[in-house]
């Protein structure tokens, strides 16, 4: 066994979960070298601003860095940017990357997810997906030049992009395949209230509709054909149709994946099926759940890092997400798919299970949301 000062912690993925993993490991006493590998050319950065501030005409775009250089220096972490992990060998404890092979004594898998695209539309000029900072710059550039856009997917990302486009005075059509937007995330009443924000802001919302074709000219995108038979003029199409775990490099690695969600299977301590390999963030399927929330990604990163360093913490966190659409602040806390949905007016929708409050959706309702979040955090988690 190597001396603790020489044991190498390798973190694959330089997003929030990866950086929090480094902080968690250092806080729990990891003294050996730490390397973070990220496939993007930027310093570790935060994703929520990509579909908000980075798209706004009100400010020049900037990489929303997660930590200052000073903080990264204090953490004594080596960041390899622009390096992609290609394979993992859990037996010999090595990760093959585009910059060569890296050994590890402990490994944290935090490669997040990749934006879902539509097969017929991938690579078509004028069609964008949004996951990375560079994607966000491309969407921003497209919005700068657009008068009419079609946004596919009325989930949180699509809705934020729609909001950014409306703020620029662009004509927006929001196309949603489902009959009920946000169906998997929140109840029908709250979803209807959120969709009302779009229509009030002048967004044209088309549900149960898909894109069936794209017509381009020499100069770019021209028309978008919809499943309804309608044809729309559009300068750009932006996809916000979800993301799938970036697990391609884990094929045949011995790290078990969840067949349903495609994420890396882990227990509540973020341990995977392979020894000394942990996982955190959007890629992690923790006790059957991929949470895909910023707050969960950060906390999972911290716990995975601490456990890699010898702690025995369990991940537990009240689900929480926030968004801003058309100037309205939206907050989602706890379990929001329970059938018992009570609209309290003033933009606050409460969810109950067996009579107890288990979650809420708030529109410009931060006080009640904060109080409920506090109460839920103080309780032991419900049976899962």
């Amino acid at each position: 066994m190597t001396s603790p000062h020489h044991r190498h912690l390798l973190v694959v993925g330089a997003g929030l979960a990866g950086i929090r993993a480094v902080e968690g490991a250092r806080a729990a006493g990891w003294t050996g070298p730490v390397t973070v590998v990220g496939d993007e050319p930027h310093a570790p950065y935060d994703r929520p601003p990509l579909s908000k501030a980075v798209l706004s005409a009100e400010e020049p775009p900037a990489v929303p860095t997660l930590r200052s250089g000073e903080v990264l220096e204090t953490l004594q972490v080596r960041h390899l940017s622009g390096v992609r992990a290609e394979a993992l060998d859990t037996e010999h404890r090595t990760v093959t990357t585009t910059a060569g092979e890296l050994g590890y004594d402990a490994l944290i898998i935090a490669t997040g997810s990749a934006a879902t695209t539509l097969p017929d539309l991938s690579g078509v000029r004028g069609v964008h997906a949004l996951r990375s900072y560079d994607d966000a710059l491309a969407v921003r550039e497209a919005l700068t030049r657009s008068r009419e856009v079609v946004i596919v997917g009325a989930g949180f990302i699509g809705s934020e992009i729609a909001s950014a486009a409306r703020a620029r005075g662009i004509d927006v059509t929001l196309v949603e395949a489902g009959a009920r937007p946000l169906e998997r995330a929140i109840g029908a009443g709250a979803a209807a209230r959120l969709m009302q924000l779009h229509t009030d802001a002048g967004v044209r919302l088309l549900t149960s509709t898909t894109v069936s074709g794209i017509r381009s000219t020499d100069v770019g995108l021209d028309k978008v054909e919809l499943s309804s038979g309608e044809t729309l003029a559009a300068d750009a199409v932006v996809l916000g149709i979800g993301a799938r775990p970036a697990t391609g490099w884990l094929r045949d690695s011995g790290v078990a994946l969840d067949p349903r969600t495609g994420g890396v299977l882990c227990d509540s301590r973020l341990a995977t099926s392979a020894p000394d390999v942990w996982s955190a963030g959007d890629i992690a399927c923790v006790d059957g759940v991929r949470s895909e929330h910023w707050t969960a990604a950060g906390e999972q990163g911290r716990v995975a890092g601490a456990n890699a360093a010898g702690a025995a913490e369990a991940f537990a966190s009240v689900p929480f997400a926030w968004s801003t659409w058309h100037g309205h602040r939206i907050q989602v806390v706890g379990e929001t798919t329970a059938t018992d949905e009570e609209d309290h007016g003033d933009g606050f929708v409460l969810y109950r299970r067996d009579g107890s409050a288990v979650g809420a959706v708030g529109i410009d309702s931060p006080g009640p949301i904060a109080r409920l979040r506090r109460a839920l955090s103080a309780q032991p988690p419900l049976d899962e």
Partner: protein, 64 residues
């Protein structure tokens, strides 16, 4: 001793600070951060700094 500085014009009431250091931060009824204890003694520095660093909109600073 260090002092916490909160910028309410930037705060979005996300509450990461409260989740990590509820002796020091609380999201009030207006949805914005309230600093409950402005002075941070040395032994609490670590977790208060972590709470401050975790703010997604960088509304918090630790001075001194």
């Amino acid at each position: 001793m260090s002092a916490i500085q909160a910028d309410k014009t930037v705060c979005e009431g996300i509450g990461m600070c409260e989740a990590q250091a509820d002796d020091y931060f609380q999201v009030g009824d207006d949805g914005l951060v309230e600093v409950l204890t402005g002075e941070v003694p040395e032994p609490d520095h670590g977790y208060v700094k972590a709470a401050i660093d975790s703010c997604p909109v960088s509304a918090l600073r630790l001075l001194g």
